[in-house]
Symmetry: C2
Subunit: 192 residues, 2 copies
């Protein structure tokens, strides 16, 4: 039968998600293979199952460890290294989001902030030739940039909410969505 085995299908599914989020597809595939293994696996097994070269396996395993989502473990009596997946999905998402998105937000906010300041000085320089136009253009653009900056703040907030160390509670979101006082919902109808 030429059908893709269940495990590989899952690996590829997660791989696609991970690729979507800007990482290499293989990071997701390798992590998933380990996550679906009751025992830690050696690099050779990963190479074989996922059809990646030795070099690629080595590099990807390193990156997964860097992100703290895969660990190297010792298997007594065995010479080679074995790897196992971090299984706390929240912890993983926390860590990765924290690092990646925070960096992006910081850089973006800084650039936009600088842009606002620069706008002021550029307007001052041009004020001599056409004061009114220059001033109103500056005002317009500053206002719009403030809109973008407001958005970075919002991003920080959503991030903070998700990343809130372990304390994040599904029910909190649920109540936001369908929560108390939602018009048209009968509070006791379903408790699921």
């Amino acid at each position: 039968m030429s059908e893709l085995p269940a495990v590989l299908r899952a690996c590829d599914a997660v791989g696609r998600v991970i690729e979507f989020w800007g990482f290499s597809r293989h990071l997701g595939r390798i992590w998933t293979l380990l996550y679906l293994s009751p025992e830690p696996l050696p690099a050779a097994e990963i190479q074989r199952q996922l059809a990646v070269s030795a070099g690629a396996a080595s590099m990807h395993l390193r990156e997964l460890q860097r992100w703290g989502v895969v660990r190297k473990v010792w298997v007594p009596g065995e010479r080679k290294d074995f790897y196992e997946a971090e299984t706390d999905l929240w912890k993983m998402v926390f860590r990765v989001m924290q690092e990646r998105e925070t960096k992006l937000l910081d850089e973006t906010e800084a650039a936009l902030q600088q842009s606002v300041e620069q706008l002021r000085s550029e307007a001052a320089q041009q004020a001599s030739s056409d004061p009114d136009t220059a001033a109103s253009l500056e005002a317009f653009r500053t206002e719009r940039l403030e809109g973008l900056l407001e958005f970075t703040r919002l991003g920080r907030m959503v991030l903070g909410m998700l990343v809130q160390d372990g304390g994040f509670d599904l029910r909190a979101i649920e109540s936001l969505l369908f929560g108390p006082g939602l018009p048209g919902s009968d509070a006791s109808a379903e408790d699921r």
Copy 2:
């Protein structure tokens, strides 16, 4: 002076964010240029300011329109097309998230679901050779896959929260984060 002008700096900053989210950098740059313009701009102006070719400008403007974040507008007495940016940032994020992430979630959930089912039939086939091992492996993997499936549900929830048409309220998140009853926070200590 060789310093990058304020507007282009902002364009690039947004471009980086957009690239991070899996789109072409230029989509963000072009949108931002339009967003920071009091008047609609013709394609030629975009080409000039952002240093992209005619072909690229055309294709990118088309994609931006497809996502509903840029509009073509008529300027009376002018031959060429002019473009303006959608300015409702929420609306944009809604639309894009809705389309992109929903698709990803659907596909992922379907694949994982299929993987679970396949697991069952694979285990049935191997049951003849080593019943106990096969059964416990299946149980283990099914459990883990359920963990992933649970996560897609969570993703849907977060998405639903963000995308909730226009009704999304910052204060709701704020209160979740720093809200009433937060242990260790003095409600009146800082209002920033």
